[in-house]
Subunit: 119 residues, 2 copies
């Protein structure tokens, strides 16, 4: 029998990560590695992703037209490597708004069950 809690935490991330990544990019265009750091620091380590988790999310968001990417190759002195910077699109903003509303409804729903109310 495997422990329940870690698996539970892992499953909770599914889906929500896309919204959080979109949110971060909306706040400030970033490249992948920077998003990894912002996620980890902004969550006190709770959202410490591997690259293999983040990049597929970025490719998916780009396929859906929610973000666009651009290589920053020009040497900006001291920058170690070429980066791919992601920026949110109008469609991405719409998606983000829709997802935030879904999240609010979902959160309220779960809280209802977790609270003292009848169900």
């Amino acid at each position: 029998m495997e422990p329940c809690a870690p698996r539970f935490a892992q499953q909770l991330k599914k889906g929500i990560l896309e919204m959080l990544v979109l949110q971060l990019i909306a706040r400030r265009p970033s490249h992948g590695y920077e998003l990894l750091l912002r996620l980890r620091e902004g969550s006190s380590g709770l959202l410490t992703l591997k690259e293999g988790t983040l990049y597929p999310i970025l490719y998916r968001l780009e396929d859906e037209g929610c973000i666009v990417s651009a290589w920053q190759n020009q040497a900006a002195e001291g920058r170690p490597m070429p980066r791919k910077v992601y920026t949110i699109t109008p469609k991405g903003l719409d998606t983000l708004n829709a997802e935030q509303q879904v999240w609010q409804a979902f959160r309220a729903c779960v809280d209802t069950f977790t609270g003292r109310d009848e169900a």
Copy 2:
């Protein structure tokens, strides 16, 4: 391109459903069909599951020792069919407590990103 919001809502359910089902059974032992109704009514229709979604969750919880089941075959007048009533176990209660704590942390984390703070 598929719509983002419905897929997003579906993904959010993953993982949380197990906690909610456990919560409902902890509050009052129930059979599967009744859980389906309680979930639907308690969520204003947001959590309207098919049987094929709920029963695998119940079997999983039973395999893990979080709940136990007992057939109620005896005719209780007017009862249409034999039912399998699920009851939470001590391990199930422990699991529920742990999952609720994970949920609280997760919720706080997401709200941090969704709010106005820096990230």
